[in-house]
């Protein structure tokens, strides 16, 4: 049970003067219950990549497989793939439209044809998962606070009960508290067996939580490895626009000065190496 891309490529506006190659030769695979991050600078093709995973964009080259079903045009399984792979766009609160938060969260399951008597249960579960207060249900989504809107939008995707959750820069514009809440939600979902794909330019979050990271630059694949290996690679071959976390920079600088410390992004690890267990 995994999402797999094989030599995936995508070109916008082919055959016109606006032709741009957004993705080229991308290959990766990640399982349910793991956290996979796609890191890259603006314009590196990471949003384009995210939209391929549930068939909003169709591969022009190569293939994408979701649990053994190929994502391709007019495929019968396309609807099924969209249900399996929940996609949370950047600034998802901009897609809110319903009269009440309840209707907003019920939108997706109703579209998938879930019987009406099962919907309240779905909505409650999604709200709980997203950490949204129960008293929001009857309110208009437009009257929620910024953080609540984001949670409502994420709940409206979770109500499809997806097997994978793809999030495009979900922490953009959130304060550090909401950011922590969101990452702990994602950690919880992963432990419940959901596959998490996080698109981000923030290496800090990617390194901290991922099981594996794919780094993109200008639509091409720089590296796809475990976090420690990615950090080592990026330290040796910096990618413009991708800033290493402060701790990682510090540990790299210390190593350069001849200190015997590991290259790491974790403060705990660096502290232990410098000052011992205490």
């Amino acid at each position: 049970m995994s999402i797999k891309a094989v030599n995936l490529g995508h070109t916008y506006h082919p055959g016109t003067p606006l032709e741009t190659c957004a993705l080229k030769n991308i290959s990766f695979e990640f399982d349910r219950g793991t956290w996979f991050s796609v890191a890259g600078h603006t314009g590196s093709g990471k949003s384009t990549l995210a939209q391929h995973l549930n068939g909003l964009l169709l591969p022009m080259e190569g293939q994408v497989w979701v649990d053994g079903m190929e994502v391709k045009e007019k495929s019968r399984s396309l609807q099924e793939i969209r249900r399996k792979v929940g996609l949370v766009f950047q600034y998802p609160e901009q897609q809110l439209f319903a009269e009440t938060v309840y209707d907003e969260i019920a939108f997706a399951p109703r579209n998938w044809g879930v019987p009406e008597n099962e919907i309240p249960q779905r909505v409650n579960l999604a709200m709980e998962q997203a950490g949204l207060e129960k008293n929001c249900l009857k309110r208009s989504p437009f009257n929620l606070s910024g953080g609540e809107k984001r949670k409502a939008a994420i709940a409206s995707v979770l109500s499809s009960v997806p097997d994978y959750l793809v999030l495009d820069e979900p922490t953009a514009g959130l304060d550090s508290y909401s950011r922590k809440e969101l990452t702990s939600l994602l950690v919880r979902l992963r432990s419940e067996g959901m596959g998490i794909l996080l698109v981000t330019h923030d290496l800090d979050i990617a390194l901290q939580f991922s099981d594996s990271i794919l780094v993109l630059q200008g639509g091409t694949q720089v590296v796809w490895k475990k976090p420690q290996a990615v950090l080592e690679h990026l330290q040796a071959n910096p990618v413009p626009g991708l800033k290493l976390p402060d701790i990682a920079q510090l540990s790299a600088a210390l190593r350069e000065k001849g200190k015997n410390v590991p290259l790491t992004w974790q403060w705990k690890c660096l502290k232990t190496a410098l000052f011992g267990e205490k």
């Binding site: 506006h13 939209q51 549930n54 969209r82 766009f89 897609q95 809110l96 997706a108 995707v157």
Partner: protein, 270 residues
């Protein structure tokens, strides 16, 4: 699956040609003169000359002829509709009669005239948008209307509204595209069911779009006020319009041509 891939709005085509470099005021007046001319002439030979003139301007603007013709595509239906109305509803000498429908000689001639007139109208007018940046066009209109400001005509405000509207068309198309994708990802479908179902399926797109539009309008208003925008009075320009000799010559040439065409048309016709 980009939904608005094929729409070309405000299709300015950049180029270094003479026509592009003319003052927008010169181009606006010239087009008005040309359009008046088109509606005055009646002789087939003169219509052919309009075609020649169209070709000349296209060449001077260094535009591919196909591109110019394509800009008339959206109004083709209107042209055909007008022509067919004239074919079927003009009284005169009947050429063909099927039941109560009759086609007359005068009807055919009128249909050809009106169709061609509309077509030329659109083609000549499209030169304006093809060769002038929207901002320049708004600037030119503002300057042309400025004599009427003393009678309370809001020239600057109209130009500003036009500029803003043109500026935000591509942005809003992008937003629409993005919202449609977001709703598709939540299982919405826009291409299934009957007409009513499809219309209803667009609500989840239209509502967020309206919210965004009002939000943007408010943001823009605040941003403009924060930079002390207070309408047209005393406002200077980064690129002031400047009427040059070539504008005078071009406008003169267009005027002379149109007057000549109209006179020759009268001579031929009467």
């Amino acid at each position: 699956m980009k939904f608005f891939n094929h729409l070309t709005f405000g299709q300015y085509v950049p180029s270094e040609s003479l026509v592009h470099s003319l003052d927008p005021r010169c181009k606006i007046i010239s087009v008005l003169v040309l359009l008046t001319g088109i509606f005055v002439v009646k002789h087939p030979a003169v219509f052919a000359l309009w075609g020649v003139l169209l070709g000349c301007i296209t060449a001077a603007a260094r535009l591919p002829f196909r591109l110019v013709l394509r800009s008339a595509k959206p109004v083709l239906i209107l042209v055909l509709f007008t022509a067919s109305i004239h074919i079927f509803f003009t009284e005169g000498d009947p050429l063909l009669q099927v039941g109560f429908i009759q086609i007359t000689r005068q009807g055919l001639i009128m249909a050809a005239y009106m169709g061609l007139r509309l077509l030329f109208l659109v083609l000549f007018a499209s030169f304006l948008t093809l060769t002038t940046r929207p901002m320049e066009l708004a600037d030119g209109l503002e300057r042309l209307f400025s004599p009427f400001v003393r009678f309370g005509f809001p020239a600057h405000e109209l130009a500003m509204m036009m500029t803003i509207a043109l500026r935000f068309i591509p942005t809003l198309l992008d937003e629409t595209d993005r919202i449609m994708r977001a709703q598709l990802a939540r299982g919405a479908s826009f291409d299934r069911g009957g007409l009513w179902k499809r219309l209803k399926a667009f609500l989840p797109v239209l509502i967020p779009l309206f919210v965004i539009v009002f939000q943007r309008a408010e943001d823009l208003a605040v941003a403009m006020e924060a930079r002390c925008y207070r309408g047209g009075a005393g406002r200077t320009r980064m690129y002031p319009l400047c009427w040059e000799k070539k504008d005078t010559v071009a406008l003169g040439a267009v005027l002379t041509l149109v007057v000549l065409l109209v006179i020759s048309d009268r001579r031929l016709f009467f």
